[in-house]
Symmetry: C2
Subunit: 393 residues, 2 copies
Amino acid sequence: MPDAYLVGAGQSDYGAFPDESYRSLFRTAFEAAAESVPEGFDKDAVDEAFIGTLGVGGRQLGLSGPAVTEHVGLDGVPCTRVENACAASGFAVRQAVQAVKSGMADVVLAGGFEVMSDMSSDATKYWLGVSGETEWERLSGTTFSGVYAQMASAHMDRYGTTGEQLSRVAVKNHANGAKNPHAQLGFECSLDDAQSAPMVADPLNLYHCCPTSDGAACALVVSEAVVDDYTDDPIRVAGVGAGSDNVGLFDRETYTAVPASQRAAERAYEMAGIEPTDLDFAEVHDCFAIAELLAYEDLGFCERGESGSFIESGATELDGELPVNTSGGLKSKGHPIGATGAGQVVEAFKQLSGKAGDRQVDSPHRGLTHNVGGSGGAAIVHVFEKEQEVSAP
Amino acid sequence: MPDAYLVGAGQSDYGAFPDESYRSLFRTAFEAAAESVPEGFDKDAVDEAFIGTLGVGGRQLGLSGPAVTEHVGLDGVPCTRVENACAASGFAVRQAVQAVKSGMADVVLAGGFEVMSDMSSDATKYWLGVSGETEWERLSGTTFSGVYAQMASAHMDRYGTTGEQLSRVAVKNHANGAKNPHAQLGFECSLDDAQSAPMVADPLNLYHCCPTSDGAACALVVSEAVVDDYTDDPIRVAGVGAGSDNVGLFDRETYTAVPASQRAAERAYEMAGIEPTDLDFAEVHDCFAIAELLAYEDLGFCERGESGSFIESGATELDGELPVNTSGGLKSKGHPIGATGAGQVVEAFKQLSGKAGDRQVDSPHRGLTHNVGGSGGAAIVHVFEKEQEVSAP
């Protein structure tokens, strides 16, 4: 199985941009990705593209992949839209890896985008609901925060997880996001701020929920045959794992774990030949604070039920043993659905390239990204690994 | 690059099925595909799934891939929804081939589905419009038949193609579809019927347009390592080619060709090492009669501008030199958007397995499928080839 390499990645700012379109945001991300390639990048080299977007708003619905690749001048390049709800572009990155490993492409663009700020809050509520199950969740009135609130309640009930532990996810991620110029909510918040926020879906308050966002992100994946043209310091896609599950939470075997994430992580670790303790940082899917805690357990960062005390220990802070969501995560950096998975890869690329600025982890060698579709109907995990020893940033 | 093989394919009936759901139709297709595998098939062997659907109707919108694979019991299997408008499941089949060639999977399900009959004709008009460009086509009132009508008008103006030649596409495809028990419009039509039908979008009349359909189709693609477990008579995926283009017709370099199809065909022929004359049959994308004529030219079956006389010659009839749309095509078999590409592969599988009943082509060795997204924003071509010499059916 030939190796695939990450040679560039970039994103737009995340936020609300009434003067931008999905195409202009995508162009910004594509250009940032191209500019990030150490030895330079010519778009004519792109053999193929995979674009993630949920895209059920009022704009281009069918063929939204080719609609953005044509806008950045990738004329005639095969382009496929990939959609697995909030994991859309995480899966797009996976398809790029498969395309390279298949021998059918040497240079592949994986990206994603979403524009959400131009909809009313009711429309957004409806729209996000489409990532849940239709008949028994969305159409019966369960909001997406409501789905995750059920998971949080179950975890609190079973393991004694507290609201304060949920709030610590927000405090940590805002502290990181305040160091990320692309972050939508790039400000710090205190534990008191996070604890006293208005309730959204009990037990999840406003600081336990990510914002709705506009944004785009792109990653460039190449084959072993051409990687030397793009960098002297390659980042290998060491592991890829995907999993799925019943789309409806009510239909799943457990409320206190995300089995799709567990399956994805097991497969990625096996392919990379590593254990969770071999990781130097991770970007995990924290659409709601409980999702980050579940990820700690599902990805093997701590034992089942112990994520609350794990975050309290400071282990996942920027200077902890395993920094998580150094970008600010979905909570602070933002969550433009289709862009999120590729945006996590942008952070992994920056960290492994020593270009994460004030939030740089000390000499990372290996990092993980974890992207979840819906409440766990699909999940995707990547492990990225520097080929060479890293000098201190 | 390791080879990929088609070992099974099956579909539901195409039509209007108010008593079925997208899930039940998908199950029918999946079970038919599993049953078609010569040496038997166990669903537990499936490593991965790719599901095509446009799916902008009122049902499961996000995660609609995992929503159908969970329904057929593929618990935890990585599943990715693929969408390139009407080419959704053609691209899903391509992803299955890439997954196998990448070495990341041995047994891959590629399928698709759509339910369209439960919408009003206005909703359907809107819905199909999403496969065109948004701002300058759909939102400015251009229907999808209107887009293809412009292509037909341009072809008639430039090459002298006639309405009667368009009607011959319908006559041929209905003659074939009348022999296909899965066909939605499984009846013959005379040239007079086709010529005297009411106008839809001048010059395209009702018989120049495919119906809206409910349906699902599935194909099973496996690696060289396991193919012998499934069949003694393998069908190799000899060529795969994809292409894209500007999504809006008005933005494209020509109205009298589909450049994405040309690019896809060139790549597929090159990979297969064949010429169009090496084909024994083809399933092409005839959403409108002009689309089939354009396909003859784009795929190199005849010279540019000569598709009208090519169909008049009888070359593409069931007993012609290159039978086209033996299944009945989109026109007679039906066009449940997300199912169509995989449904074409079902016909290729049946023909190459000698199981196409009354529409069986004489001892075919090699066949092509051609699936177009929108009016040509994306296109995908596959070439399937029997490994062994074929005995007469």
